[in-house]
């Protein structure tokens, strides 16, 4: 019995941890004219199929980046990298610039109203506007 309780407790902890670890949202500058975007529109922008906006990435290997691509495009980090290898080595585009921190993302968004990025929901402040909660 004791073992079962322990297992249930461990499972509950693991589950709640899994849910709580990140809640990614897609954002633009508060000054941007963009309001709401669909998953498909955001995926097109970040996978080089649409050049209407300038996408900004988070650091490679960061949990927020992996979660973003998984939720918005249903792709793993390796699939995203393969897609960009295809595009960049055929001269069709260059991958989004990867930024090191949320502050850097916010600074770049403020400087470019046409830029689009993603971050953990808890990092959203008045300088940005949420356009998609995937």
């Amino acid at each position: 019995m004791k073992t079962i309780y322990r297992l249930v407790l461990a499972a509950t902890l693991a589950l709640s941890f899994g849910v709580a670890h990140a809640d990614v949202v897609v954002v633009v500058s508060a000054k941007s004219p963009a309001s709401k975007l669909t998953k498909e529109q955001v995926a097109d922008i970040f996978l080089g199929r649409s050049t209407n906006m300038v996408p900004l990435d988070q650091a490679a290997g960061s949990p927020v980046r992996d979660e973003f691509y998984s939720k918005v495009a249903g792709q793993t980090a390796a699939q995203v990298k393969t897609t960009w290898a295809k595009l960049s080595f055929s001269g069709k585009g260059t991958p989004p610039k990867a930024l090191g921190s949320d502050d850097e993302v916010k600074a770049q968004l403020a400087a470019n109203p046409n830029a689009i990025a993603y971050m953990d929901k808890s990092k959203v402040d008045a300088s940005v506007k949420t356009v998609l909660e995937p």
Partner: protein, 376 residues
């Protein structure tokens, strides 16, 4: 071709020189992107007499393993002058029609996007013959270890010096992309380089969700000798599907010639399927080619450029690291007693002036290949 290269160089210099010195220094790093890709591979077969190769390589693997069939290294510099103007130069070293890996300028073009959806390019570009024409040499960008030779090996013109216009438009949920191109190049066939002029081509691509459908055609005038011209043409259709864990792809192509119809003409197709299990993607390919003959055309005086060949391949792509994939592939190749398309017999020519690949007779060959594909 030299002239066009200088034009591209001049355009790049003009774009760079046109920038104010201060902003140039400040944004130097932001405007230039340097990247590269490569493949390190080895192939071995159970056939002593003939070498297994890709495209028009003069030698390859037999029962003694060979690293030159699949290995290559490419470097690319991209210069983004502003939001609508860029230049791309790519150097690629691989075994082409000589044994040694030679670095050649694969592409050098200036690209302008004057209006949303409209792209103009001028310079040297990949010949847009196939579904994955422009990234076929980038191992990392593809699931398979190498593109099926029954289809990709049929093309004798890998690149074009000229220009193209591409227009992309969304109609409902379908993205339509049309491209027209014109230029000149060099065709490589029967072991010789032929000048090719008046190349004209067009292709149309439809993309909806995970589906991509593409149809294309290209033709050009080949100077066979000072007094003899030929018209070469290539047509193809392809479809690909990639969603979640499932990927599938198929293509059908036709190679035609006006004056050497029964020597050059051939058809080829393949179909591929794969499934992603996390970092592992097992896949299988069936591919086939055969000469296309016509009784109303004169018979070929010297055999066919490529013969009959059917290959069954099973492979595995493993995304082992964030910058590299490891691949293993087994091919069972059956050339049915013809010269096939993936084989060459190095050494003294059987018929002087022609490659031995036109005159050999190959049955079944088993091939094992391994590669590491990387990007940087």
């Amino acid at each position: 071709m030299k002239l066009k290269n200088s034009l591209v160089a001049a355009a790049v210099v003009a774009i760079c020189g046109g920038l104010p010195a201060q902003s140039w220094a400040e944004s130097f790093e932001e405007k230039f992107t340097f990247s590269g890709f490569g493949t390190l591979g080895g192939v071995v077969t159970d056939e002593d007499d003939f070498d297994f190769r890709r495209d028009q390589q003069p030698d390859g693997a037999s029962t003694s393993a060979d690293a030159g069939v699949d290995s290559n290294i490419g470097v690319q510099v991209n210069f983004q002058a502003n939001s609508w103007l860029s230049a791309t130069v790519q150097g690629l070293a691989m075994r082409r029609d000589e044994h040694d890996m030679n670095m050649e300028i694969e592409w050098a073009f200036v690209k302008a996007t004057p209006l949303p959806g409209l792209t103009l390019r001028a310079g040297r570009m990949a010949m847009p013959t196939f579904l994955v024409s422009d990234s076929r040499n980038v191992g990392y960008a593809n699931t398979w270890l190498r593109a099926p030779n029954e289809v990709y090996g049929l093309a004798v013109v890998p690149r074009i010096d000229g220009g193209d216009v591409t227009y992309t438009r969304e109609v409902g949920s379908v993205r339509l992309t049309g491209t027209m191109m014109a230029g000149s190049s060099e065709a490589l066939a029967v072991g010789q380089h032929f000048n090719m002029r008046n190349i004209l081509g067009g292709n149309l691509q439809l993309q909806k969700d995970a589906f991509t459908v593409r149809a294309g055609t290209v033709s050009g005038d080949v100077t066979v000798s000072p007094v003899q011209q030929d018209k070469y043409s290539f047509h193809g259709v392809g479809v690909s599907y990639d969603k979640g864990n499932v990927l599938a792809q198929a293509e059908y192509v036709q190679r035609r010639s006006s004056n050497f119809y029964n020597t050059v003409s051939a058809d080829g197709w393949y179909t591929m399927g794969g499934y992603r299990f996390g970092a592992f993607t097992p896949y299988a390919i069936v591919a086939q080619t055969k000469p296309h003959t016509s009784t109303s055309e004169p018979p070929s005086p010297f055999g066919t450029l490529s013969g009959k060949q059917q290959t069954f391949s099973a492979g595995l792509r493993w995304d082992a690291m964030s910058f590299a994939a490891i691949k293993l592939q087994y091919d069972h190749v059956d050339a049915d007693g013809t010269n096939g398309i993936s084989f060459e017999q190095p050494g003294a020519p059987i018929v002087p002036g022609f490659p031995n690949s036109m005159f050999i007779s190959v049955d079944t060959v088993n091939v094992i290949s391994a590669t590491i594909d990387f990007v940087f």
